[in-house]
Amino acid sequence: MDKDPNNILEEVTQGEYKYGFYTDIEMDQAPRGLSEDTIRFISAKKNEPEWLLQFRLDAYRKWLGMTEPSWAHLHHPPIDYQDIIYYAAPKKKKELESLDEVDPELIATFNKLGISLEEQKRLSGVAVDAVIDSVSVKTTFSETLEKQGIIFCSFSEAVQKVPDLVKQYLGSVVPSDDNYFAALNSAVFSDGSFCYIPKGVRCPIELSTYFRINAANTGQFERTLIIGDENSYVSYMEGCTAPMRDENQLHAAIVEIIALKEAEVKYSTVQNWYPGNKKGEGGIYNFVTKRGICKGNNSKISWTQVETGSAITWKYPSVVLMGDNSVGEFYSVAVTNNYQQADTGSKMIHLGKNTRSTIVSKGISAGYSSNSYRGLVKMTKRAENSRNFSQCDSLLLGDKCGAHTFPYIKTENRTSIVEHEATTSKISDDQLFYCNQRGISTESAIGLIVNGYAREVLKQLPMEFAVEAQKLLSISLEGSVG
């Protein structure tokens, strides 16, 4: 072998830095640090209405009185919140003439992921020629959506276009003082996505297709709001399987989902942010609050996530099951390698009668990483005849990594049923030898076994996403054994 496979991922993930990010105009940037002035600056830049400024300031004042949570199974040096630039105009990458100028290792990763040539160009900052006219594609999608009354735009755009909807639902699922990072986001959020599906409308496309084409630079404090009106359906996909890098170390996003009567919202994420190098240096700290509320009867919210990135992941996509007969689901694959740390899981809060929830969590740990599942299932007094099934599996590669499970169960009535199953397993030498004997290299064998292990979750992903996610899992674990 001409190259230590351990280095490939590291090199690939660092590759883009060679070409650098740079901010061309200093004036379009808030002064470093956080104060009420910073928040007024952000709000003014975005031409926001007074109520939104007040929402931000209120959150900021609450944040000042809060302390960073320390209960998670995570370790990182203290974050200096005054050393962050909270607003900068969308950063431009240096535009390259052709793919020939892009780091070949990065191209290799793109090819492994099966990303099309045009998209490779876009992702690596090469000027896209007129062969694919993304503007016209965008227009086509927008027209399709508009015809049905679907609103799908950036958060800032929504504030201008449909302020009443934003005002009605912003902070209604994740209050601005919900937790330390939620308060921070509420004060300084940069941009994100807004989606509204009207009554009785079934969104005809996966909103990802659109999203990927328009993947905007949403910054480090992303804010997403999705509203499924009565009897509507939408499948929404966040993120991208390509290696995503950002010089902002701290990310604190909020996603709020509201499902009204008989509505169904399916939210899928594939997250592949820079995990830091092999020694655990650098990498994104990702503190995310994702929560949905099944507000109406017979509504359903489903979270599916594949997490391979970030140095630190702190994330518990949750569902509040308020309407009777409502359904909440959480399917997760979290991979940690090298020195990555993940503390992730889900909360299912059963308020309505006959509500049902499912949690399937598959943790895969390699290298020196630490992977924790943390979940809460709560059956309140009113939530009669409700059910939860939780399954938390851990797969260990090597003997230097750790897997932990912290399930919390609270039941306040006698008719609900809560089930919890947990397993821990390793890839056995017998499995590897069996694969090797069929001509399959150890690296491919690990990819195969890991994908098999995660299949239950991967099959929840929309088709095109699932194929990329499978490849991503293999790449993330390259060099983790042998």
């Binding site: 069996y434 694969c435 090797n436 195969l448 076994i449």
Partner: protein, 249 residues
């Protein structure tokens, strides 16, 4: 095709093979018999490259190449197939996916492009039909929840898909009822060609009624103590291994 000379193998400093010699030519079927614990499975493992064993002495040449220098997956791509005595389960990985990966990794080793999907699926169908394998088997996870017979049939199916030049079947008959045994044996017979060879490891003569060997070897206490035609198997069955033991003393 396969030439083993004075092979000495140990595990944890305990010598198991004490100088094995074996020549296998294309088109031949060899049977290796012997009581339990005499090193039959060890021999199969060492040929296929299992790392838990230490080769202390001797050489294994395969098509003129030194096999002991090759990693397990390269040996497989060079055409060596091991039918496992205890096939492992790989949850969540369908047989189709497993086989496609194996076929394409072997093609890659030989500098070929992956097999087109339609060609691959047609090949799967053909081999399933040939071996009378239930269509559903291909969608199940590798060996997961399989009965003993299904596992062994699956090994033969994989052999058919990979078309090895040397197949070593390690106690393929163990745990099989007579019907399963017949299906497995007929699969092997259908795959026999002038340019490939089989080494069938078995404890009982029963399998050899269905797969007729050209040469029978008796492995005892780490050495091949006797070789002969198919009559040797019958003689062994009649007189038992005690006969060999007695002769050696």
């Amino acid at each position: 095709m396969l030439s083993i000379k004075n092979l000495r193998v140990s595990i944890n400093n305990k010598e198991i093979l004490k100088g094995v010699n074996l020549e296998v030519r294309p088109g031949e079927v060899h049977a290796i018999m012997g009581p339990n614990g005499t090193g039959k499975s060890t021999l199969a493992s060492v040929i296929s490259g299992r790392e838990i064993f230490t080769v202390d002495e001797g050489e294994i040449l395969y098509k003129g190449k030194n096999l002991l220098d090759m990693p397990v997956e390269d040996r497989a791509s060079e055409g060596i197939f091991l039918g496992f005595q205890y096939p492992v389960e790989i949850p969540g990985v369908s047989i189709t996916n497993f086989m496609r990966t194996a076929v394409n990794e072997q093609r890659k080793y030989h500098g070929l492009d992956p097999m087109p999907a339609n060609e691959f699926l047609a090949k799967m169908e053909e081999k399933k039909k040939m071996l009378e394998i239930h269509a559903k088997l291909a969608n199940r996870s590798v060996n997961e929840g399989f009965s003993g017979g299904e596992k062994k049939k699956n090994e033969i199916f994989q052999m058919a898909m990979l078309e090895p030049s040397l197949a070593i079947l390690d106690e393929t008959d163990s745990g099989l009822d007579i019907d399963a045994l017949k299906i497995v044996a007929s699969g092997v017979n259908k795959l026999r060609r002038p340019d490939n060879a089989f080494v069938v490891i078995t404890h009982y003569q029963r399998l050899l009624e269905y797969i007729v060997p050209d040469i029978v070897h008796v492995l005892f206490d780490g050495r091949i103590v006797r070789s002969g035609g198919k009559e040797l198997a019958i003689e062994l069955e009649e007189k038992g291994y005690e006969w060999i033991k007695a002769e050696l003393v």
